[in-house]
Every structure is written in C-alpha cells, then in structure tokens.
Symmetry: C2
Subunit: 323 residues, 2 copies
C-alpha cells in the first residue's frame, strides 16, 4: 500500500489530469493569465455536511456537482464556459482514492463541457471536505441579467422541478447512490439521486437565449423557483402570476408527480428560469431544449399562483443558508 | 438584540459595503462580467483550524489576511490587482458581528489596494470557518513566471524572514492579537502577530519588476523560502547557492534575530522571492522597496548554503499541507 499522497504529489496528479488549454499562462504558477476577451466569472462552494454528506454518493458525483453548480451560473448569464479554478480543503479521513475520484468527477464534466483548469489551492481541513470552484466564461455583448424583465413577459423554466428535493428526502432516509458512471451517463439504479449530483447542462440553452436575445432576464434555480423568481424580479420591482397546473413536476421514486409545493421550493435544480417578451416567444420554437411556460410577469409585486380557479399570494420560500 | 442575520441580510450588507467598480456587470447576478483586458487570476482558501484559530486575533485580521494572501500571488505575477470574489462558509457559533468584522477586514484591504468585489457565495459550515477568495488583476505583456531563472542570476527576497513562523509559535503558546486597527496600521502591542495577519503589500514591487523586466522569475513565499525556491527553480532544473549570513532575519518577541533555519522555513511570509540577471541589478537601485540579495542561481540542482566557510546541501523543507 502506498503512503498517503503529499501536496506535491496531488499537484502532479492534477497537472497530469487537467490542462489549461487556451490560457497564456495556465495552472502551475502563482496565477493564470488570460487573453483579451469579455469574461463572466462566478464562484460556488460545496461544503460537506451542508450541501452533501460523504455517504450519499461516490466522490466522483460530488466532484461533478461542484463544477456543475458553477457552470449553471455561467449558463444563467448566457456565457460560454471556458475555465475554472478549484480549491479543496481535505480532511485526513478521506482516502487518496476518494479525492482522486472527486477530481476525476470534476475532470469528466470539464471534458464534456470543454472547460480547462487555471489553478487552485490545496489545503487540509480539520473535519469537513470543502470544494470551492470559480468558473469563467466568455461573454457576448448581451449577458442574461436579473432585473430586466418587463410586465407581460412570459416566464419559463427549463426542466421539470422537484427531483433534487425528492433526492434529498431519500438521502436523509438512507438512500445511497452506489454507482456514478462517468462515461455512460446517469445510473439507472437511482435516477433521482443521480439527478441531484448531475444536473443537465444548461450551457447551450443559456448561450442561445443570450445570443439571439430571446430572454429578457434569467437566473438559475439554486434555492427554489419561488425564491429565485423573487430574486429575478426584485431589481425591477415587478411580480409574477404562476399557473399552478403549468408547473412541470418531476416524479418521485414511486413514479408519482411531486406536489406543486415541493416543485416550487425545490433547490439545487441548476436549471434556468427565464422571462421572454411576447414578441420573442416564437423564437423558442427553433430551440431544441424543453422549456415550460409557467406564468407571466405582473406589475403587482409578489408572487401569485392561480390554481383551480383561485389566485393566492405565495411566500417567496426556498433555501436560505442562514435560516 | 437583533435576531441573527439571514442570507439575504448578509447579501445586502455586502452590497452596501463593496462595489464592483470597473466591471460591466458586478456583484449581485449569477456572475460578473469583465471588460476586455489581459487578466491574471488566482485563488487561495483559508481554513479555520489549519490556517488560523478563532481565538488568535479579531475577525478583521482574518478577513484582511484572506485577501492579502491572494494579492500576494498576483504580485508574484507582476499583475495589478483589480477584482476579487469571496466565498464564506460560516459556522453558527460565529456571531454576526464577527462575520461583519471579517468582511470589514477584507473591505479595508480592498479599499487600500483599490480592488473591488465581483461576487461570491455564502454557505453554512458545520464546524469551521472557511474563506475562499479568487482575485483578478490586469496583466502586462510580461508576467513574472516561475521557471525562467538562468544560471548566475542573483536571488533576492523582499523582506526579513521568520516573523510569521515566530508568530505561529507565539499563538500556539497562547499569545493573542487583541487589537487590529484597520485605519491606523499595525498594532504596536504585538507587531509579530500583526505581521502574521497583515503581510506588507507587494503589489507595486511586483508590477515594477514585471514592467521594467527586472526579474527573470518570481514567486511569493507562502510555504517557506526553501520550498518556494525549489518550486521557482524546478521547471528550469537549476539549483541555488545561498549565503547563510545574507539571509535577512526577523526579530522574535525578545528582540533577538530568529535562527537561519527558522528564517528559511518560515511560511506565510507573502513576500517576493525573485531572480535578477546580473545585467538588470543596477535597475534595482531605483526601486524604493527593500530587497535583500541572498545568493545566486547555480547549474547544479538542489539548494546549497554557504555558511561560515562551509557549503552544504539543504533539504527543500517547508510547509506541505499533507505532511
């Protein structure tokens, strides 16, 4: 058995597995140097014990997700992902093979999305695993922003909602994702758990929505539709009316649709929530991605839901890290 | 007494205290958007229980240091710092005022160095405080790189060495930095502890060394002179001969010079280690910063030290996070 890897050995493992293609100076110096371009930059941190538990899934799944949540933010800006940096704080109870698999999970998504590593930081952690990633993408002239919706715009989401919340319930009950095949796509054994760690890529959709100027505003659903919709509309001080029946609901492990309540408060969806002006809606027909119209932007602030003929105001509930 | 702040309240506190001056789209969206330029990017993570303990100093000091270690990396590339992103994972045992002070510590250094916030991520932590910062700087045509030293180049460091190691010893014995004045500079009460959290800015020095093409290579000393010198020289497969008597040594709390051994293995110095071709050394005379010549680059690999007439090979010892 080999002795546990030292920092230097981890660095050379990372060097072998990741390239900084496209950068003037890549990984391995004090910083990376990028060529001239317009850049979008975002950062997201995954913390063991908060965002995931060690036993829920193979380390590859955690690695994949740690990059996916960042790429989702770039997609919500309409930016094309190109680079990332990764910092790891590693507890000694993790085996080298687990950290290696975590890095290989990151690498698998990086290869799929053609993003390359620019640098990072390795540190010990006293107790919990931390993965902090910063991602950069090239940015066209018109980024997809929050706060640019107008009254009457239609509201769309880019996937069924509720699967990640359902997966979380299952993890808490003891369900484990045992297989996470990097090459052959989602494990059939447990599609919900796989969906939690491997959200569908929104990159192409985000780029098309920005390039063709279809969406007036966009955000990725990370803390639940209601909370993220209220964030999307907060800057323009508008509200929304949602059609309860139109909310696309995921199915739970038994094959039944999740409740509307669970669908609109399910976080970590990492799919897009966008507003589209009426005049642009016909352009959606040429887009391959599935988009579900769920309501429209209203002049009255707050989020309202029409359901079975009744309309009622909803609390912008969702995941607040500090509640 | 106010109830503890929620995530939304933290975000608005951050919005009030930090601006994204100079970015096309700043903090507050899924990502930030930067104008065209050449960029240098780096990231560094501080972990409670590894890089610092809660009781060692006021939270402002930890905040200051978390940004300083990143700016030090930019300086070692000769890059002008402009932007940063900050992710915090916060345990519930931290009081709001402590996190506020931590952010104000970051803000104080950001204001001093004129760098502005582009974004970040807020998360709960089960146990330890984590601060992960990514910093960006504009980059001229000739970044300061590792691996570009040539045989015969002189080796310089930009400060006395050993104070951070001395401070760590003191912290472990129970010394606490009680005052960390953001406005009036270092606390006189405990200069060593202050030096640990507030390394001197190397930004201007790094930029001059790059712009005037004085240094052939550069690195910031974060894990000890010996280890970082071996990293600096590793890519060009050269060695170094150091003059033991020329190593500039900091003083300990009793006013005595630290040992050469401590000076060359002291990490977290966040000062520059550079190589300068003989033909460029006269250009150093016009630089205000103090630079200490400690040896020269040799064709024989390994680090050697001449001391009291004897020359001996040194182990490239220093701080490895995983040893």
């Amino acid at each position: 058995m080999n002795p546990p890897r030292k920092e230097k050995e981890w660095l050379s493992f990372i060097d072998k597995n990741f390239s900084s293609y496209g950068a003037l100076v890549g990984n391995g110096d004090d910083g990376a140097v990028l060529k001239k371009a317009s850049w979008c930059i975002t950062t997201d941190l995954l913390m063991e014990g908060v965002d995931f538990e060690k036993g829920w899934a193979p380390a590859e799944a955690v690695g994949w997700k740690s990059l996916a949540v960042n790429l989702s933010d770039l997609a919500a800006m309409g930016s094309k992902p190109l680079f990332f940096l990764v910092s790891l704080a590693i507890p000694s109870r993790y085996k080298d093979i687990e950290i290696e698999n975590l890095l290989l999970g990151i690498k698998a998504l990086a290869a799929k999305e053609k993003v390359s590593l620019l640098g990072g930081d390795l540190s010990r952690s006293p107790d919990k695993l931390v993965i902090s990633i910063t991602a950069l993408g090239s940015q066209g002239e018109k980024p997809l922003l929050r706060g640019k919706a107008r009254v009457g715009d239609s509201i769309y989401v880019s996937s069924h909602l509720g699967a990640p919340k359902e997966a979380l319930k299952m993890f808490k009950k003891g369900t484990r994702l045992k297989v996470f095949p990097l090459k052959n796509g989602p494990a059939k054994e447990n599609a919900l758990a796989d969906r939690f760690f491997r959200p569908p890529s929104q990159s192409k959709l985000g780029q098309i929505l920005a390039e063709k100027r279809i969406a007036s505003s966009a955000i990725d659903i990370s803390d639940g539709l209601l909370l993220d919709l209220s964030r999307l509309l907060a800057k323009c001080r508008l509200g929304a009316v949602l059609q309860g029946e139109a909310i696309p609901r995921a199915k739970n492990a038994e094959g039944a649709f999740v409740s509307v309540e669970d669908a609109v408060t399910s976080g970590e969806e990492q799919t897009l929530l966008i507003t589209v002006p009426k005049s642009k809606e016909r352009l959606l027909e040429n887009i391959k991605a599935k988009l579900f119209k769920i309501g429209f932007v209203s002049p009255k602030s707050g989020i309202w839901m029409e359901r079975k003929g009744k309309i009622s105001k909803l609390e912008a509930a969702g995941f607040d890290h500090f509640e």
